[in-house]
Subunit: 299 residues, 2 copies
Amino acid sequence: MSILVVGSVAIDSVETPFGKRDKALGGSATYFSMAASLFNKVNIIATVGTDFPKKYILLFEKRGIGIEGLKIAQGNTFRWKGRYDYDLNTAHTIFTHLNVFRDFKPQIPTSLKNSEFIFLANIDPELQHDVLRQVGHAKLIACDSMNYWITHKRGHFEKLLNKVDIMLLNDSEARQFTGESNLMKAARIMISKGPRAVIIKKGEHGVIYFSKNRHFVAPAYLLDSVYDPTGAGDTFAGGLIGYLSRQSKINEKTIRKGIIYGNIMASFAVEDFSINKLLKISKDSVAKRYKHYMEITKF
Amino acid sequence: MSILVVGSVAIDSVETPFGKRDKALGGSATYFSMAASLFNKVNIIATVGTDFPKKYILLFEKRGIGIEGLKIAQGNTFRWKGRYDYDLNTAHTIFTHLNVFRDFKPQIPTSLKNSEFIFLANIDPELQHDVLRQVGHAKLIACDSMNYWITHKRGHFEKLLNKVDIMLLNDSEARQFTGESNLMKAARIMISKGPRAVIIKKGEHGVIYFSKNRHFVAPAYLLDSVYDPTGAGDTFAGGLIGYLSRQSKINEKTIRKGIIYGNIMASFAVEDFSINKLLKISKDSVAKRYKHYMEITKF
């Protein structure tokens, strides 16, 4: 029942009104795997450069994350620098240096082709299709994307909807893709294109889950200090899929619980820069916050 | 156990991407009373001009709303004209003509001085203090305000916090008043100034309720068509206080349920212009939507 994630491992520099960190470990596959590995074995497919610090490799290993598919290529690691103002829902990119990530061609090792849970983090939709051609019949395939691909590779992105079980997008991306400002209508349009479910992420306002005939609304866990929202969406996906990979059935009930675990994991991620908080928490911290979440939402 | 609301009765012209209405019935006391009257007897304290259409008076009467305190003054009724773009959370005011509302001095009729539930809708905080001097010891006093008063009558607004049980503000107002962007911290600052509880309204993202030691997060009821968000906050308050006025106890449990009723009533209000939808719904429609709300939030 192991989990496979295909995405980026990056070196991020981030500034928020609450501080800044230079050259910290980042990337979608990093956040996802740090969250999901609290629940189950995760294997990463990504690429880094020869400059990638050894200490970060050790972090993955200590967490039990499989790095057989982490390719070290000649050149520099993907670097992103960004800034958030008080509206922590909006990232302002200062620079993106793709570096070795520009030539990333995901190769799934034979031993991982039958992974049962697959997360296609935000990369070029053509590469996401490539991954799907390499793997066997998974129990669950979830997929994320971003505004850039919706604009520049719309056709490839649209075809993905028919090949994945759950598509995750943030609210502005769902609106952009569908041309519909109402999120229920946007979700229905997306669902009509094939996925079993759509999850629309609203940052500090939580998420909305839609399947063909039902929906579920889950507010975010309320925090009194948010330091760095980078990676919240991927951490959410890691909590959701990590939890689901431990369940005997994937149905409305387990997906809803998984979404709450996703919210909880994301709430930890944003409480410190990079993956710092995710490294500190235990299964107990997660269980305690899940219980508190139940308390603050029950009526 | 009757309810008293002090606020505005207005004639609104509203334009949204989904249509427009000219000279429709509006005002905070109107929305509040139309919602609360589905639960209990409501009395209005407000003023209108001699131009106020008789048909609107009849609407209040048909709903059983007490208009003993609705003063008809020489001049024109308060008029507001506004526009919403696709971001329905932000109203753009085209004009505000206070007219007779400029000289509004709430006079509480003797028979209503012992009302047990009082809602001080958004009016000059000095007038809200005036009302509190006229009434007896109520079971619950809730209060709303707006950015204008927080800027121009900050001292009077701040003193109100120590005199009311529940202060309702929207998120931007709570941030403005406290100078704190984090809503939990903003709520704590407000609570330290005296009220038993604070409700922060986040429009389409729902509300957050804070008491001294606890909080409760309630997402909005998800809709696939929102026509006009005008009055949603006052309708929310009407649902909350209407529900509470029918309970034998006001405690964490009944307040939480009341907040959900507030959300439900607000969800109806925004589905049509003015109070049109509120006039059409029955207790059964409310109960049905409450049940659906439970379904879409349970996990």
